[in-house]
Symmetry: C2
Subunit: 162 residues, 2 copies
Amino acid sequence: MEEDSGNTHTRFLRMAIALAREGMASGAGGPFGALVVRDGEILARGVNRVTTWLDPTAHAEIVAIREACDRLGHWQLEGCILYTSCEPCPMCLGAIYWARPSGVWFAATRVDAARAGFDDELIYRELPLAPEARAIPMTYIHLEEARALWEDWEAKPDKIMY
Amino acid sequence: MEEDSGNTHTRFLRMAIALAREGMASGAGGPFGALVVRDGEILARGVNRVTTWLDPTAHAEIVAIREACDRLGHWQLEGCILYTSCEPCPMCLGAIYWARPSGVWFAATRVDAARAGFDDELIYRELPLAPEARAIPMTYIHLEEARALWEDWEAKPDKIMY
């Protein structure tokens, strides 16, 4: 989609980019910023903090999703929109599906990220592979205890699904 | 792989399942547990805490990865192994690629998780789709500010890659 300056989505995307720039300038981490917005109100702001928080999961989107959920007191972002300076990586996409906002807007693509050395593409290529065929070897061992655990979860009367 | 009781991997997987069972029994969240181990030493333990921490990203693997990184003082898990009671979901797989442990072992599969209502499969199906074709609509707007941000990141002399 071409630039449509002036509309609400573009305004929030510009704020996400400004956050990314602040995070980059302050040395917080990579050049990524994200906002969670509901009914025009900003619920949470996130910047990438991987290298300062020493947390590989501290991508801007994850930071913003966690803060927004904390603010809403729920693990779901129903009715919220996520604005992010760059197309989310597969980890953040997974987090988005678990948080279930109503939409996502982004202002740069995985191609821009890849050009700067962020290897989201590797993860996209790896996910469809069989676990044992991945670059990080993943091995399944069938254990009876795991089967019993799942049976007990399914029978648990007070379980909370998410 | 069939059960090979007695070996090290099986022992740690049984511990991950025991953690999952404790988490389930205490009401922490879903029936998932994970350990990060390096050179036979347990660096971190995680259980699913989505519904108690009100954090959709608080899967057992993410909790364990964050704690292990905190303990190691680095955003990478070089030389570490992740043991998890169940095959990681796409979000956790993404986190694993960013954390880069040397291997992953698991004791139940996505089929077991899906049977109990955890919809990892939806996320696997959605990730390869074009952003605008996904169940959660994702929209790209090209903004000049985003392009400028990436140029400045690439030119930044003191950037730290991860």
